[in-house]
Symmetry: C2
Subunit: 545 residues, 2 copies
């Protein structure tokens, strides 16, 4: 027997309709390509999104076709976004910071029909377009005056939509229709596309609006630093309109001074960004002796947040830091480090260890830790395991069938991360599965070792990799890039680590190198390190320890 | 093209699974029938809910069958609830405060298979059971020692579940499966059943957890005064487990002293109740010079909240009052009176007028005001219209097809309320559609007139009804029950109203009566008044005004 409730499909166009009808006067503030700040409202952006829909239909764009954007955060990007998904097209966010050959691979793989791009991306498109024959049209997100000179044909957004009606039918399709496409950065192998559905993104918006998640309200002004091409800006593209939060979209200028100016001038109460953004803002504040105005809280994700950022924002600026964790394949938000009642009652110092973890699972999801054979491991805060996740906001596969069947027999997706979960349910990422060192059946976190070793006063960068060992399968070795002009003995680092780590975690060797290589995103490139260390042999006979 | 996201059905058992796994140690506190306070946890209640599932299966209860409860708020009620819906049975909450013949009608109409009842409901069941042959089993929510004496066979809950396993399969069915049945109080005609689905209640839980709705978190301790038989306690039966809020379930003792004791002893931070509950608590506080401990905020609904409650809770106890509006057919929460950014910036006195409204629409819903012909009316804060609502948490019909097709051609449900919506989106209920007075094409709110007239120092109760008028269709007349010992002229009330209302709202007559009849819920019984006034004729000739 079915319930007797209305059957309204969970399609994302409804969220923007809601914003226009019930929060129509709420502002969307953008820093445009020329640095100037422009303003619209949800009602204004909604009307223009409808014009985009008509312009897309006039071009013959059909349901399921990929409409790509190559753009920073701005109102035109948002309008184009809803204009595309409203008619059932798939909004594909291309990341302008990737190498051109990666973008070309992705756009080809996605078979993008057209690209809406920031004018600043024109040089990139000159390289890109000859390699991506599927792209039939390019629209620059600017007016006629802002058009870049290009060797290829392109139109400006404003004249493209100018003559279009502000009425257009949206929705009316199945809630499982694809809405968005976003490729993972692909640290191993080629990038793979995650194909979000209307239903999955809609449910993600609802679940992330909880107090113990992003906690957005109609009273918030959100500085959206996290790019819209990163999993829908952690879903805020959908959640902010849902509740009528004012949006501040900072464009390409993500330096400390530019962001700080927006925080003060727009009365920002909330922001979402990676830790490095806060490092820049804090450096700027220190230099200018500034303050953070009305800012109350920030969600930090994308990388583990250093303790110093959490403490400085709290102690000096009264801003609460909440870590979040997720990945493109998880829509992305999955865990958030809000305190339990018990932890909230502790003094701040005692809350910090929990703020340093990636947090607790949002309702709607299921999570498990397993060993390599898929057996569940205890939530004791010590045992490392592969982190696997399940729920309607989690990918079931990749676009075009890449990567094959990615779910285990219980329907869980393997995140590729290794983590612990403590008795209170706080999850902490300890390593990537491919970097963790498996020694005698136990796992050693390369990241934990690196974080401790780099505390040595002479160390500039440290990296830990596993090398094969006849008895223990793998043993860790520590690579050290010393600060310029420093010299050290292996013994210095062994002594430094002694007492700070379990005995069996002690690296079997310390190797001094001229350079620890970093990848495009600033993370240590372990793939390259492993290549460079291929001829390396452990200095021991392999029978002891 | 469909998205490539996991397809996990939105079934309500998952919310309780989540609470047990991720908030397992969080308490559920109940005041039992004997007045004592007992404690369990989400993990404990979850294990016992599984036992209930096995006990139900052992009795042969099948998917879709109605398992009724006749009980106050308590942990056993909650366990039985999830035990039933987890296996696909329909949890039907019977309201013990209705007249026995109403309950009998409802239980017969629902064809309830069994009843789980508070021991205090034994006398009621003695009357009820002979009239409801579909009920094959009665379980009392107590242990053996607490069993009441009855002329009918019954079992106690504790021995009923004692031998059952704590493992039971839940879910695995379609998300549109019926989960709950709740009858409207039926002010006109027979009560009608709203049949909630797993999907609709799941989505309702997610949408009501927003900051601008109930805003529950893992740090909250919720005193759930609103009964579980009122639309799933405004959905809190689902939303509290979702986020791991501690639950305090007060049983049958809803007097000011008993509730106040729980607020202090359990560290209650949040409560949901009707205005009269707060009147009792405030009276008790005034008498005892008490305080409200950790209480931060309350949601008040079920009836318009008097300004004095809002001000007293704010000024004297630092508690924020948020009104909510909804009805059984809307799951129930639909609008909530949280401030916009603009209103939040005002001094408290200037916020009060907005707090007195029923609030703004939750995302996920659509709302419209129409005239009797279904034409949309403006949101200007003045124009009255029939309030109609749409969304996946809104009923599409009634159990057994009662009431026929209840949606308009756009799929909206007519709430039977008349309201205004202001330019900021704040909705205010002005009347029931059947009570509003339609005079010359314009609508007059009987409730507004009553609220003003009852301010006359000699008035005890006032009621306004419409009487037919040859020119204006209807005109209002005012019925007054004076305070004991008072006497007054019609003129006194006309003069009192003059200047306080629009000229054309002025009642055409004032009728002094010995008694204004009240219904079972304490509201003025206009149906009875209309019956009594059937022979009444307007004192005017019907051509003027």
């Amino acid at each position: 027997m079915q319930g007797l409730m209305q059957d309204v499909p969970l399609t994302l166009d409804r969220l923007f309709d809601h914003a226009a009808r019930w929060h129509g006067a709420r502002e969307i503030v953008s820093r445009d390509a020329d640095g100037r700040v422009s303003r619209t409202t949800y009602a204004g952006a909604h009307a223009r999104a409808k014009q985009v829909s008509n312009a897309l239909r006039a071009m013959g764009v059909r349901e399921g076709e990929r409409v790509a954007t190559l753009a920073w955060n701005g109102a035109r990007h948002l309008e184009a976004w809803y204009g595309a998904i409203g008619i059932g097209a798939v909004l594909h966010t291309l990341n302008p910071r990737l190498f051109p050959e990666q973008i070309a691979y992705i756009a080809n793989h996605a078979q993008d029909r057209m690209i809406l791009a920031d004018p600043g991306c024109a040089p990139l498109l000159e390289t890109l377009l000859p390699q991506v024959p599927s792209v039939r049209d390019v629209i620059f997100l600017c007016d006629e005056a802002g058009m870049p000179r290009t060797s290829f044909a392109a139109r400006d957004y404003e004249s493209w939509i100018a003559d279009q009606s502000q009425q257009a039918a949206w929705g009316g399709f199945d809630e499982r229709l694809a809405a968005g496409l976003c490729y993972t950065s692909g640290t191993t192998g080629n990038p793979k596309g995650v194909l979000y559905g209307h239903r999955s993104n809609y449910i993600h918006a609802l679940m992330t609006l909880q107090v113990d998640a992003l906690a957005l309200s109609a009273r918030d002004t959100v500085l959206l630093v996290v790019p819209m091409y990163h999993a829908n800006a952690w879903g805020v593209v959908y959640s902010a309109p849902c509740v009528g939060a004012k949006l501040v979209l900072p464009g390409q200028r993500l330096d400390g001074a530019s962001l700080h100016e927006l925080i003060l001038s727009e009365g920002v109460t909330y922001s979402a960004a990676v830790p490095t953004v806060w490092q820049m803002i804090l450096a700027h504040l220190k230099e200018t002796k500034g303050n953070l105005g009305k800012l109350e809280r920030v969600t930090i994700g994308g990388a583990a947040c250093p303790e110093s950022i959490i403490r400085t924002l709290h102690d000096e600026y009264g801003v609460d830091v909440i870590q979040g964790w997720g990945m493109t394949e998880t829509s992305p938000l999955a865990t958030v480090s809000h305190p339990t009642a018990e932890i909230a009652a502790l003094p701040f110092d005692q809350q910090v260890p929990f703020k340093l973890k990636q947090g607790r699972l949002l309702c709607n999801l299921d999570l498990k830790l397993t060993d390599d054979e898929g057996r569940r491991l205890p939530h004791d805060g010590k045992t490392f395991g592969r982190l696997k996740i399940k729920g309607e906001t989690i990918a079931s596969g990749y676009f075009g069938g890449e990567g094959g069947d990615v779910l285990d027999e219980e329907g869980f997706f393997d995140t590729g991360d290794v983590s612990t979960i403590d008795a209170r349910g706080y999850m902490q990422i300890t390593d990537r599965a491919k970097d963790v060192i498996k020694s005698g059946g136990e796992w050693i976190s390369s990241i934990d070792l690196e974080n401790i070793a780099v505390g040595h006063p002479k160390a500039h960068l440290c990296a830990v990799i596993g090398v094969t060992h006849p008895k223990w399968d793998e043993r860790p070795i520590l690579l050290v890039q010393l600060k310029p002009g420093e010299s050290a003995e292996k013994r210095d680092f062994i002594d430094f680590l002694d007492g700070k780590i379990a005995k069996w975690w002690m690296p079997d060797d310390v190797v001094f190198v001229d350079e620890i290589p970093l990848g495009a995103t600033g993370k240590i490139d372990k793939k390259l390190i492993r290549q460079r260390m291929q001829g390396y042999a452990l200095p021991f006979d392999g029978t002891s320890r």
